[in-house]
Symmetry: C2
Subunit: 340 residues, 2 copies
């Protein structure tokens, strides 16, 4: 017999389909002896529930979705998503819930996917990444009544559950460290301005500047690409009063920045300190290796999965979980500024 159904098990055990269902789902209604017998037969026939049948009856599909709205070209270089995925799966596998992944070009397409998933009952809930200012996805998901958890930002006014890290504190820890080394001209090469976390990081730099006596602390926004990271660095290093330290919002941009420094004959960390707001193997492949802020992205994903499952189980619940703070891993790209 290729793929046994509960009817087959019921036959063999000499009981009804209902009894088998009760036994397999650990609910009352069968004696311990019968339950044991049924479980043994199921095991022996290597029975597994047909996911579609279960979904149809129980109106849950044991599957959650993740849509990433970024051009594929910029993906993959950053290990962020790979780690996040692993973490998510680790959190989901406990209850053997599967993950649907979709990469789309933009937010409009992403919302369209949610709409389709909701109407086709393909997922029980979704995970939101790259939260933007006034993010249209929040309203869309609420309207669709699709359970969701936001990663890396707050889910709007009491709307969606979220798992977030404190970007502000993280950025402050970087700027504090650089200031302690003696830097007073610190620049910030930021990401896309419409991302919430970009805004928070920019604000953190701006707010810290007076307290630390920074002469100048500009935040320049980019599109997160290596090209703009390089171009912005070139601009910064061409100024009369060039910064003695630059903080990059991503490791890719930091690497691009390092390349520009070398190309312009600016020594790192002698003339310029570099910090990446994100860690990966990239930062360690460089010479000098880059000082970077390490986040436990795997754990991040794991927690997000758990929160999502809670929200799926009880959509009324609103959870805002703050994860462990990221830590600054100091390597070779930071040093006190040259005295002149």
């Amino acid at each position: 017999m290729a793929r046994p159904t509960i009817a087959d098990i019921a036959d063999r055990a000499g009981v009804s389909k209902g009894a088998v269902s009760f036994a397999l789902n650990g609910r009352p209604g069968v004696s311990d002896a019968t339950r044991a017998r049924i479980l043994q037969i199921a095991e022996q026939m290597s029975w597994r529930p047909h996911s579609a049948a279960r979904a149809l009856g129980a109106s849950r599909v044991d599957s959650v979705g993740l849509v990433i709205a970024r051009p594929a070209r910029t993906l993959g270089v950053e290990p962020f998503f790979a780690h996040l995925l692993s973490g998510l799966q680790s959190g989901l596998s406990a209850r053997s819930i599967s993950l649907q992944l979709l990469i789309v070009e933009n937010t409009a397409a992403e919302i369209e996917v949610y709409r389709r998933w909701a109407s086709e009952h393909r997922v029980d809930g979704v995970i939101l990444v790259d939260l933007t200012v006034k993010d249209p996805r929040i309203d869309a998901l609420r309207e669709l009544e699709l359970p969701a958890v936001v990663i890396g930002g707050r889910g709007g006014k009491g709307a969606l559950a979220s798992v977030w890290a404190d970007d502000r504190d993280a950025m402050l820890s970087i700027v504090d460290y650089l200031a302690a080394l003696g830097h007073r001209r610190i620049a910030h090469v930021a990401g896309t301005p419409n991302f919430q976390h970009t805004q928070r990081r920019i604000r953190a730099v701006r707010d810290a500047a007076p307290r630390l006596g920074l002469v100048d602390a500009p935040s320049l926004t980019t599109d997160f690409s290596d090209a703009e990271g390089a171009a912005t660095t070139r601009k910064l290093l061409s100024q009369a009063d060039r910064p003695t330290a630059i903080v990059y919002d991503s490791d890719v941009m930091a690497v691009a920045g390092l390349g520009v420094a070398m190309e312009m004959g600016v020594s790192v960390p002698g003339d310029l300190s570099i910090v990446a707001f994100d860690d990966s193997i990239l930062t360690q492949l460089m010479h000098p290796a880059l000082t970077a802020l390490s986040r436990d992205t795997f754990e991040f994903g794991r927690q997000a999965a758990e929160v999502l499952l809670e929200v799926v189980a009880d959509p009324a619940k609103v959870i805002n979980l703050r994860t462990a703070d990221p830590v600054l891993t100091v390597r070779e790209s930071t040093a006190p500024p040259a005295t002149h």
Copy 2:
């Protein structure tokens, strides 16, 4: 009405459920007029099929799976999977088939996933990557009767469909180019020896050596990590007769190798030419930018998706599709060897 079913549509149209099903699936049994009316009502009620219900009835779930058996840590740096995913989706989205992604630690876990997916009817077929010599997954999938397409290798003796690129020709194009530049001492830092493509590349180097008059052409295997890439490079460059050119099986190892060369005072491309057997943004971030073999991974994924859908539709079909040959993108890391 939140989520209309075909019964609702049938009510409104004044026909039976069956007629609605026929109309929506474009099969005979209803008149053109009725069909048009039903389609219009469905559209107006923004009806979408309930995926589980359809799966249960039609015994296909419109979903395929991809399992990647690699530690998450080594993923993500290479954009290979991100591009492959996008390509796969592009090929699947046409028939709105969704993709299940799972990252696991090893092949045993991967096979376990296939077993589960098959018995739970979660996917119609799977995509296999990282084919090894005597790959146990092939037999497992055949036994499970799960349609599959192999990416980057042949699917065994007439067993599984495959989409593959010619690694041998690609490697030859690299070695030919280096030999034409004048290099006679060429080393090959290969990946894991149990991967089929590693074997093919090693064989290609070995076979080409006599024809090109290479003095020495060792292939050294690694675990694909930056650490082993660096260590192997260190060993090669410490030899009395060090190679004047090194070909790396991955871009990450090539970057690590470049770092070692710099650290040992070996100038690139003056004293050493470097080629990466895989392209990505990484190679372009370096100084010098690395000469690399570019493959159209997106297209690769798209074709794999199409082949898989054909195999799902007709499991008896065996397709072996050879994709476009990769091309060598020459950048700054290759030059004729120094004369001494």
